[in-house]
């Protein structure tokens, strides 16, 4: 098993056993800044060696995908799981968006199998963070007058995550593979061990979701496992439509299947206050995130390969 997954499991078990282990919150913040920058840099340096124009249709495609996933999740939560409107909207928003940690694990998984991923997947990662937030808000409250669109737009486009991804990409693109040479030692070579440390803390955080899960268990587990499977299929479909490589299709499936646990919760807490944040987090962090990194990624890769063969 990949050592970064072992770090996750270790954090999870330590959390369940009630260990005092705890990363300083500043360290966690710093690690996530590093990972976002590194992903951006890697994507950007790849983009530097190819024309940018073909990116446009891909961006449009994943925006549509993000909107679709959010609507689908909302419909499912309302009709099959009888969620009330605000909670369904908030939860749907999480599943329509993406998880950077899941992206990072998939990148490590694909790399260790020698599977290339198109550099623009990092762009698509950044793009896919956003539409679900806006759709989620509209679902929760309709298009009302007193929605503070300015601050929501700010939250969506200038949030820390998107800024760092895009900034890293800009630096990587401007520097190119040659220019980044002197900084590879940190941002590329140490990516995996840093990801391990980050996942250890993720394991601790996930372990804290178990209580909530026990309370609402069945519903959340069912949705948290079912939704990513549906999303992955749509992701694979989109990837094939865009003519991505096997690695690229797997990655897009993983992105579609992943659920946000940083940007979206922060935005929903402000925009849809009536939604209980504990529910969406228990789903996205407590079920979907571990499922994706432990079983989902290999599964999506297998599904992608099957489809590509046929």
């Amino acid at each position: 098993m990949d050592p970064v997954i072992l770090f996750f499991l270790f954090g999870f078990v330590a959390g369940l056993l009630g260990s005092d282990l705890k990363l300083p919150s500043t360290l966690y913040d710093s690690l996530s800044i590093f990972l976002l920058l590194a992903i951006g840099l890697k994507g950007g340096q790849g983009l530097a060696t190819q024309p940018l124009l073909p990116l446009l249709p891909q961006i449009v495609a994943v925006v549509v995908l993000g909107v679709l996933l959010t609507l689908l999740a909302y419909a499912g939560l309302r009709t099959l799981f009888h969620f009330d409107r605000p909670n369904a909207a908030a939860m749907a928003s999480h599943y329509g968006s993406v998880s950077v940690a899941t992206f990072a694990v998939a990148a490590a998984w694909l790399a260790s199998r020698g599977l290339d991923v198109e550099p623009q997947l990092a762009v698509l990662l950044a793009v896919m963070e956003i539409p679900a937030i806006l759709v989620g808000i509209v679902l929760a409250r309709g298009i009302s007058r007193d929605t503070d669109w300015r601050s929501l737009g700010h939250e969506a486009f200038l949030g820390k995550g998107v800024t760092l991804l895009l900034g890293g990409m800009a630096i990587g693109w401007a520097g190119g593979p040659q220019g980044l040479q002197p900084i590879r030692g940190l941002y590329f070579d140490l990516f995996k061990p840093v990801l391990g440390l980050f996942l250890m803390e993720m394991g601790l955080i996930v372990s804290r979701q178990v209580g909530e899960l026990r309370r609402r268990g069945f519903t959340l587990v069912l949705f948290g496992l079912g939704m990513p499977l549906v999303s992955a299929c749509l992701g694979i479909g989109t990837g094939l439509l865009l003519g991505l490589s096997p690695g690229g299709v797997t990655m897009l499936a993983t992105l579609a299947a992943s659920a946000s646990y940083i940007a979206v919760p922060a935005a929903m807490r402000i925009a849809v206050p009536e939604a209980n944040p504990a529910i969406s987090l228990a789903g996205s962090l407590g079920v979907t995130f571990p499922f994706n990194i432990l079983l989902g990624i290999p599964l999506y890769h297998w599904m992608a390969s099957q489809w590509m063969k046929s």
Partner: protein, 102 residues
């Protein structure tokens, strides 16, 4: 006889860190001239908030002003935030030296 001081009201609010920016914007709009914010953790009717990660961080907001303004601000918080956010607020009587500032 002692220093000349005047009475003001200190409004203290314990709430979720996630709405810090929103509350700052509200206070600016409501004409609050000064405030102090610090980080906290705690427990209340909405459970334990142990600051172990972003979602469970608390803040303490303190505003010194005259009583009517304090009530106005608390009234605003009550209508807008009390029902959906972890939030506790209270008044304390304090004495200040430069009353024109508050």
């Amino acid at each position: 006889m002692g220093m000349h001081t005047e009475k003001r009201t200190l409004l203290t609010v314990f709430t979720e860190a996630s709405i810090e920016q929103v509350l700052i914007r509200d206070m600016d709009r409501l004409g609050i001239r000064g405030y102090t914010i610090s980080d906290a953790r705690g427990k209340g009717s909405r459970g334990v908030r142990d600051a172990s990660w972003d979602e469970s961080r608390n803040i303490r907001i303190e505003v010194i002003c005259d009583r009517p303004q304090a009530e106005m601000l608390l009234g605003h918080l009550q209508t807008r935030y009390y029902s959906n956010y972890a939030m506790v607020a209270f008044f304390t009587d304090v004495e200040v030296l430069r009353p024109d500032k508050f």
